[in-house]
Symmetry: C2
Subunit: 406 residues, 2 copies
């Protein structure tokens, strides 16, 4: 792995030539972070832009507008504007107009073509986004823009997140430093009402748009796409990557692996932050599936385990209940051979060669008292493997999601 | 619908020529129902037998033995023996031997070929089933066998179930009465440790084995297969149907629809009982999806909604959070048209023609205070529909599943 991830206040402004701001414009009832609810990220020069968007068919207005702008600009962006507190989803034609107005106003202030502005929103679904508040907040955000304000932007995109998620790394390419940094918000895949998975990553490297796109998809596959809090997929999920070339380094096919390595480190750090900060989470669980017939089988089984309420509650309760892991593997719709399967919690073998090892249960129970839990299931059906991350399921998750709006 | 469902103590012995018993043999720590943990169901004469089994690839030993016996006997059975407190799953060759011994001992006592005995188990996975206890309990069960002991059998198959599930109906066929009765245990699809979905249905009608098989599959599809508590699928799930012909009525293609109608009524009553008694459940939720491109799409979307922790927690909290329903429909992997979609809670329209109707939210919140909740989502993509049943997700569910073994 090239470079090391440094969780620093810099985050999305760790790379040269990016400035950010986070201000309060009154969309969100002031609950935390001084009510910060409007984030602005600006590149000094037009940056190469790539993004991945939610596969939910009920895509929110800002998703549709950003998709349109990326196409119109040929993958170039100067600014990203994000609000929290309102998802602007399921809001019909009016919602589309609001998302467009948000981009238009930002373009006017930043002085760039409107198609060079990307838009994202997170918060309650089906509620109108008050565009007047955004209009009043934008000049304040413009005035606050600074390389030192990455931390404020990271806080302005938060909803139920218990803490902000920032990460940055440096990769040496052809003897020169390239910075990659980002911010994200959770609290997971959970789409509720007041949570969406958003990620924003910047770099001062430059590269052809197709390579940028490929790098983002490669990094996201093993990071943001390998986490789950509760198996939900938001109407507003997106991860955006801007590359402005301010380092003077141009990435090509030869230096691509080093760049993707760094990008993956940043994305993983942000993605794991989302899981650690999942609603009601008390533990980070790393689920590794081995012995699968195909990589797709491995991922599918790992996701099934990571989303199983019985596995998540057992780990929450510190119960080394390996039978639940086997039962999920058996129903996951993948090749599975019970007589060759195995379950390992931490490094403790609990089931192997068709036989329980219940004598190891007390050790496993002690291990489960920790905060970082590794569970591993061998499907006994091949050589492929996959890792995903999830959190435990607590009564607090129920409380947050049952009580939120009421 | 022919006949009416009467939830009566008779249950599995409502049909002529069946006797049952439920006794305590010491497998289960005495917690409820006087520790009843061994159920025996006997038909006076060899009965036609059909069964559906879990699709989990980690099938438990009793499932494998019952499959084998059904094949060997050509779909004929005299007895079903069931224990609770231990699933005899993931127990290797020893577990297979125990399941076989359970059948052999029952066959000896009932005086029938061993392949005419079906076996089922429910309880902790990966723990050896103490066959000596079963051997000691079986003579007591044989001695207790009576048409009036259906209630005891229904209690002996319970694990975390808050109440026993019995149902019975009468269908008039060619001017003669046919009885159909059954028992089931939950607490849902949940497979934990100490829960499995088991259903046992008897009738005193007779019919050719292929017709019996077809009837069971048809009835199960809209009932036991249309419920979910937490999306889990047990290693031990099964539904068995015995038809002994004691009424003197032979079902043929003409009378098949009337019979299936009655069978479906009994299966639905049992299945809804499982959902009402789901772990931590406080509400029965009927999820109807309309406007789907295909019936399979409708079922898939309905299951996705019924398994969504965000939908289940919102309803638990009485929050008419229609955005969560739309978001699940959008990510369910089925055809979906947001501009034509609709969400109705009770009879209150909350989203239609791409527009929220938030003025109706207070009425919907009041409706959600009830115990029986109907939610309906129109996908706006066609004419097909499907209904499934689920329960809400409460902090009690987490408590039960986090604390069970510890």
């Amino acid at each position: 792995m090239p470079g090391t991830v440094i969780t620093a206040p810099s985050g999305v402004t760790a790379a040269k030539g990016f400035r950010a701001a986070g201000v309060s414009c009154g969309i969100k009832a002031v609950k935390s972070n001084g009510g910060l609810d409007l984030a602005l990220l600006v590149s000094e020069t037009p940056a190469g832009a790539a993004a991945v968007f939610t596969t939910n068919l009920a895509q929110a207005a800002p998703i549709l507008v950003s998709l349109e702008h990326l196409k119109q600009s040929g993958g170039t962006a100067r600014a990203i504007v994000v609000n929290s507190g309102c998802a602007n989803a399921c809001t019909g034609d009016e919602g589309m107009q609001v998302a467009r107005d948000m981009a238009t106003e930002t373009a006017r202030l930043v002085n760039c073509p409107v198609e060079q502005v990307l838009v994202a929103s997170t918060g309650v679904i089906g509620v109108a986004l008050p565009i007047d508040k955004v209009r009043r907040g934008l000049p304040a955000a413009l005035a606050a823009l600074a390389a030192e304000q990455g931390w404020a932007a990271a806080r302005a995109i938060m909803t139920t997140d218990p803490f902000p998620k920032e990460a940055a790394t440096r990769v040496t390419i052809d003897g020169r430093d390239v910075a990659i940094g980002g911010m994200a918000k959770g609290s997971g895949m959970i789409e509720p009402i007041l949570a969406t998975m958003l990620g924003f990553v910047t770099t001062d490297a430059a590269m052809p748009q197709p390579l940028l796109d490929r790098a983002l998809r490669a990094a996201v596959d093993d990071t943001f796409n390998a986490i789950t809090v509760d198996g939900e997929c938001s109407t507003n999920d997106c991860v955006m990557l801007l590359a402005n070339g301010a380092s003077g380094v141009e990435i090509d096919d030869n230096t691509y692996p080093a760049f993707v390595g760094g990008l993956r480190d940043v994305c993983r750090e942000l993605a794991l932050g989302i899981v650690r900060g999942g609603e009601g989470a008390t533990k980070l669980i790393t689920v590794t599936v081995t012995g699968a017939a195909t990589r797709s089988d491995a991922r599918r089984a790992a996701k099934a385990i990571a989303n199983s309420p019985l596995v998540k509650t057992a780990i929450h309760g510190g119960d080394p209940n390996w039978g639940r892991l086997i039962a999920v593997a058996g129903r996951a719709g993948v090749a599975f051979q019970l007589s060759r399967a195995a379950v390992v919690i931490g490094s403790i073998v609990l089931f192997k060669d068709g036989r329980p090892h219940d004598e190891a249960a007390p050790d496993a129970a002690a291990y489960l008292q920790g905060k970082d839990i590794d569970v591993s299931v061998d499907l006994g059906a091949g050589q492929a493997s996959s890792t995903v991350w999830t959190c435990d399921l607590s009564a607090e998750y129920v409380r947050i999601n049952a009580d939120y709006r009421t």
